[in-house]
Subunit: 234 residues, 2 copies
């Protein structure tokens, strides 16, 4: 069995370090109702921080199961760190963005407020987005959950935990976003109305390079996912 077809289960780092794991409740339903695992079948358990091990179903009844934890499994996480710093879109668009960013292996999605952004993001929305990220991680076979945070003020950006290149997406820029690379990178995606001139000036002064993705006006989540796909290409 390869990691491509194995069921994945998110556990805590403590659970990942153990020798066995008891499964019930939501986790039981995920593995034995939705994924229909059987006794002796193999699965992959991941800790959301990049750790992954194989496991097998050692015992199974109608409400519980016991997993035996085995050797380390491939993490399937990209080597490159790519952060998306985006003007918060509407909730259903934010949900898509987080699902797709998780699948592609983005390191963090941070929501910023900007002069022309329609809305921020509240704690309840972030909680929902975290559940979406967990489901996406279990589906795609990665081992690391993206950090989700916000709302941040643009002025906080220089203090956000990241390193490497900062790219500011702007349809009027003359340079294009370069594909591939190893250096950590963060992409700033403004609202559909664009950043204000003041914001562009501030972000450029803080070291962000203005780059474009074609000539069109992309929605926030489209631009963010297209940029992540480019930067994470090997």
């Amino acid at each position: 069995m390869t990691s491509e077809s194995a069921a994945n289960l998110l556990v805590t780092p403590e659970e990942l370090a153990g020798e066995s794991l008891r499964v019930e409740g939501d986790r039981y339903r995920h593995l034995f109702r939705a994924r229909r695992l059987a006794r002796d079948e193999r699965l992959r358990i991941v800790d959301g921080e990049g750790g992954a091990r194989w496991a097998e179903v050692a015992a199974l009844d109608r409400r519980h199961a016991e997993l035996r934890l085995l050797a380390a499994a491939p993490a399937n996480d990209p080597a490159r760190r790519v952060d998306l710093v985006v003007a918060a879109p509407r909730p259903e668009r934010a949900a898509w963005l987080v699902e797709k960013a998780t699948e592609l292996g983005v390191y963090a999605v941070r929501f910023v407020s900007s002069e022309r952004a329609v809305r921020g993001v509240d704690g309840k929305t972030l909680e929902r987005l975290r559940r979406i990220a967990v489901a996406a991680l279990e589906q795609c076979g990665g081992a690391r959950l993206p950090e989700l945070s916000g709302p941040h003020a643009l002025g906080e950006l220089p203090r956000l935990p990241t390193a490497g290149a900062w790219y500011l997406l702007d349809p009027m820029a003359s340079e294009t976003l370069p594909a591939g690379g190893d250096e950590a990178a963060a992409v700033l995606v403004g609202p559909e109305g664009g950043w204000s001139d003041q914001e562009v000036t501030m972000l450029a002064a803080a070291g962000a390079s203005r780059v474009r993705l074609g000539e069109r006006v992309l929605r926030v989540e489209t631009a963010a996912i297209a940029a992540a796909a480019l930067l994470l290409a090997s």
Copy 2:
């Protein structure tokens, strides 16, 4: 006013060729309720086939408007032809795929049936997807609507109207999908359960190159949009 901020209206090629255009009904609501255009304001009209002109609001009352058609406007369409040939995902995922493919400037989205695909795509779904493409085109400022078609049998593929390179996405391939380029390209995206061995053999025999997008199992629409972003990068 640049094309980045102009309202866009999809018209027919015959209308695009005229000197003026009367606007009422849905088009009126799009321009004068949703986008709140005023008299003398400029907009961009596109024909869905790559033609674009500037126009201005010459007359306006509470239910109709008269547009005066002006000089040619930038089309904002990518030079490269990229087709997506995808195993039909669930309707809401197909809708997202078509919206994003339209924004990025994909030439065609064709839905294929495959051994492990959950569903095809019916005429009603295609009609809904066309409306989504129109809204996305007007939002992003492109001039050409993608062709939407299906369901196709995999055996039809060699006869589908395309040219250039065929890429078959496969997480187990050793080569990666190359970013950028000019040659027309089509990307085959299988269902989440993967193509069957028989299908891979048939598609490879028909000339498709097996390539991967990272190590993860991406959902159909994620893989399709990531591939389109890479191939359309300049």
